[in-house]
């Protein structure tokens, strides 16, 4: 499963990462080398083995549906790179 530069461009876009030509070339090489090493797990027979996403048998750990205090608006905006009238301001979306 070799990665072409086009694939790396596609993945970078999915991950919202802008890359230049040189970076695309470098990452393509490095990712292929890493994925080449991963191929060894394909030689393992895993028929009938259940996947483990999480080591603990915990499921749906909820608390009661009761209002609890959260951050104040000021606290939430304290790290904002750009804010206006109590809202986060970003460049044009549409």
């Amino acid at each position: 499963m070799a990665l072409a530069q086009k694939d790396v461009e596609g993945v970078a876009f999915l991950a919202r990462l802008a890359l230049d030509e040189e970076e695309i070339a470098t990452y393509t090489k490095q990712l292929n080398s890493i994925l080449g090493y991963m191929e060894k797990i394909n030689s393992l027979d895993t028929v009938g083995v259940e996947p483990t996403a999480h080591v603990l048998p915990l499921k749906n750990v909820f608390r009661g549906d009761v209002n609890e205090p959260g951050l104040s608006q000021d606290e939430a905006l304290a790290n904002a790179p750009d804010q206006e009238r109590g809202q986060f301001r970003v460049p044009r979306i549409i």
Binding site: M1, L3, D7, V8, V11, A12, L14, A15, R16, L17, A18, L19, Y27, Q30, L31, S33, I34, L35, Y37, M38, K40, I41, N42, L44, T46, V49, E50, P51, T52, A53, H54, V55, L56, L58, V61, R63, L71, E75, A76, A78, N79, A80, P81, D82, F88, V90, P91, R92, I93
Partner: protein, 475 residues
């Protein structure tokens, strides 16, 4: 402890601050040093003592925290440019627990960016140096926490461990580092790298301190739905000098080619010592060990790609302000904000989870994880504890491995399987090789920290490696 009238908390804190002034320009373990807050906290502890209040064993004790643990009002960067100006509005649970016990925060410690690395060289700020040899790495990703303890800049620190990031730097710096069972310590407030693998743990000079710190941070937290409803026992009671009859398994897959001869020698000597102390050692097999690393480097980047999607320049952290629309803002912010290793792992993870590749990579890796977990469970049917090297080598020179990602990944061969299975592991110093510390790793069943402490304590009480200090000749 010493606070019983012999010396004040303020004096203890001042002593550590002097030490930092003396060595920090060489070690560079800290991103942020909080002198004022530390002294204020120390004086508060002194006031409580004078008022006759009972105090915890950690009161007045100076500590450092890895910079991926949120500290309210104090810069928390995760070693990354994308959080270079981030001031959390809340404390991580472990931080507030330690603060309640009176521990004194001296500062936030350097780390590989977002905990992705094994040498502390991916920190976007500067690399930390190993106090035993300033031209060598302290290990990673908790390199700052390890170096600070080894250099005597803090009495203890907290690190995080996803694939070995507490144990390996502990081993490289000659200190004690423990990764608890997954779910024992709350992850609330620890900036997530791989949520099913991350754990916070103590890094200390000796086993006793490790037990005392774990006692204060362990236990269920309603704010972390992955923390387990398990009552931690009294870990201090586990500090008993006796391992007679204990069955110790030696996993043969951890003693293969690639293990440095000096490390092998020191670890084998340690195992012989454990036998001398009455333990019964036998070879065991963890047959899927060689596949664990490959599976880890699919699972952890996959989880990371999801966890790091939140860093987009919108509501906190670094933002590229030259963008004309929000998509461009995301792409340029993340391009500039993240370093190469982080980007590499985000892309690896995104690829592994993408349509058409999910089954071949991610799902397959999760099945390998099951097999790794089963390996440990099977071994523990015949033995109580496993003993192995923590890392295949001693600390290497700065710059030696950073250009080759795969060479860097292979360092974690002996620590990764432990995270995959969710079981606890501790690294303790067991000697030197070429003048650099070697770590012995002890691995136990889930929630067997008390037993790990007993074995580690027994070994420590009958050797003197934990007393060795780096020369760190500075002017």
């Amino acid at each position: 402890m010493l606070i019983k009238q012999e010396v004040s908390a303020k004096e203890i804190t001042e002593a550590f601050i002097s030490r930092i002034d003396e060595v920090e320009s060489h070690v560079r373990a800290f991103i942020t040093i909080t002198t004022e807050t530390a002294l204020a906290k120390a004086m508060e502890v002194d006031r409580r003592l004078a008022a006759g209040e009972g105090i915890s064993p950690l009161a007045g004790i100076p500590m450092g925290l890895k910079d991926n643990l949120c500290t309210k009002g104090i810069l928390t960067t995760c070693g990354s440019k994308i959080l270079e100006n981030f001031i959390p509005p809340y404390d991580a649970t472990v931080v507030s627990r330690l603060a309640q016990r009176g521990a004194v925060l001296i500062g936030k410690l350097n780390m590989d960016e977002f905990a992705m690395g094994s040498s502390n060289e991916t920190s976007r700020f500067f690399p930390t140096r190993n106090p035993w040899d300033l031209n060598r790495v302290p290990g990673g990703s908790s390199g700052g926490p390890a170096a600070a303890v080894a250099a005597g800049e803090v009495a203890f620190s907290l690190g995080t461990d996803t694939g070995g990031s507490i144990r390996q730097p502990a081993s490289f710096c000659g200190i004690v580092g423990m990764k608890p069972t997954y779910g024992l310590v709350s992850r609330y407030g620890a900036v997530a790298y791989a949520s099913s693998l991350d754990q916070i743990g103590p890094m200390t000079k000796n086993v006793t301190d490790c037990a005392l710190v774990l006692q204060e941070i362990a236990g269920q937290d309603p704010l972390d739905s992955t923390s387990v409803g398990y009552m931690p026992p009294n870990y201090r009671k586990a500090l008993v000098n006796d391992i007679k009859g204990l069955r110790i398994g030696i996993p043969k897959e951890y003693f293969v080619a690639g293990l440095e001869p000096g490390v092998k020698k020191a670890v084998e000597a340690a195992i012989a010592k454990l036998e001398e102390l009455g333990a019964v050692c036998k070879e065991v097999s963890l047959p899927h060990t060689e596949y664990a690393l490959a599976a880890y480097y699919i699972i952890s980047p996959a989880e990371a790609s999801s966890n790091l999607a939140k860093f987009d320049g919108v509501s906190y952290g670094f933002r590229n302000t030259a963008a004309s629309d929000v998509m461009e803002m995301y792409m340029k912010t993340r391009r500039e904000g993240f370093g190469p290793e982080v980007k590499r792992r985000i892309m690896l993870g995104t690829y592994a989870l993408s349509a058409g590749y999910y089954d071949a990579y991610y799902l397959k890796a999760l099945k390998v994880r099951t097999l790794v977990k089963q390996d440990f469970a099977r071994a523990f049917e015949h033995v109580d504890v496993l003993a192995a090297p923590t890392a295949p080598m001693v600390a290497f020179k700065l710059g030696e491995r950073i250009e080759d990602p795969l060479a860097m990944y292979l360092i974690d061969t002996f620590t990764i399987p432990v995270n995959m299975a969710g079981v606890p592991g501790i690294s303790i110093p067991c000697g030197l090789s070429e003048g650099m510390p070697v770590g012995l790793q002890l691995i136990g069943k889930p929630f067997s920290e008390a037993l790990l402490f007993r074995v580690a304590y027994t070994y420590e009480q009958n050797t003197s490696y934990h007393l060795a200090k780096p020369a760190l000749e500075v002017n």
